[in-house]
Symmetry: C2
Subunit: 148 residues, 2 copies
DNA sequence: AATAATTAAATTGCATGCAATCTAATTTTA
DNA sequence: TAAAATTAGATTGCATGCAATTTAATTATT
């Protein structure tokens, strides 16, 4: 038989593994560069959210990063202990925790911009390919979002 | 001010973040379908390797899946406990462990083919897009391999 | 207003995932 | 061939990542 549907099915199936593997490799490749700042990849992307928009709730961080409180709560506590962020209850809604950058957390941004280019160099895609990959990945992510 | 550095650090400008996020989502989406077979995603892909080629070493499984012994050793022990695989020392080289499917492990293959189509349906890409994504992901993975 | 439903974050428990180190077996080399 | 180097797996320790549950605060309902 091997019709059109079968082909898509096979390909989609084959796509899951490289997605999983590449995601994992990204984290692994970042680690040595972040070590210098005593950060893990996940801690780094939490800070990226805050550098873009400070004073956000745990919920909002989670929805940007596809992470839940089970992951974020202990991770945020570690970032507090490292002195990069601070948390306080939202005055309007005491269920919410507002996360903010400390001065140290803000300063870190200036130093850490040296890191992404180093990883970029290892991702051997030209600009066009990178753009295509970016588009396709968000298509998958958005498609997932649809059916939940 | 919004200078060059700011742009670099924006989540939306990074190819790494969607790679990380999509990989994570893949695992998460698989989980509910694999639960029925008492398998996790990682255990499932280990079995996939074996379904394709039985009697392989831990090392070989790891190189296919980008996993090391620190991950595989306990995971393989769980699969043994579940009765899907078995391990024995390689007679030629006693450092090597040869992993093989049990009858139960082989049979599982026939049932589990129902799972990938369910995930495939959630990955909302057409054939051309899927093919492109596949190519780009392996380009990234192969590029990583180069510089190690 | 009192109760029910919902929501944000914390907690618990389990399964990775990986760096670093260790042990035993095999190869290389001096 | 004896010592050194390498290699395959196991172990340890730490950091996610997520489902499920709990707790506290807020909102919706009656």
């Amino acid at each position: 038989m091997n019709n059109y549907g079968d082909e898509i099915l096979k390909l989609s199936n084959q796509i899951c593994f490289p997605l999983y593997a590449t995601g994992k490799e990204i984290v692994r490749r970042y680690q040595p560069y972040l070590e210098k700042y005593d950060l893990t990849y996940t801690q780094y992307i939490v800070l990226m959210v805050l550098w873009e928009k400070d004073h956000v709730s745990v919920k909002e961080i989670g929805s940007h990063l596809y992470l839940d409180s089970g992951t974020l709560t202990p991770l945020l506590n570690k970032l507090i202990k490292k002195g990069y962020i601070r948390k306080e209850k939202a005055p309007r809604d005491e269920r919410e925790l507002i996360i903010s950058l400390t001065k140290e957390g803000e300063e870190l941004k200036k130093e850490i911009i040296e890191v992404p280019p180093k990883i970029a160099k290892k991702v051997k895609l030209n600009q066009e390919e990178a753009k295509m990959l970016y588009t396709l990945l968000y298509k998958v992510l958005d498609g997932f979002k649809e059916d939940e």
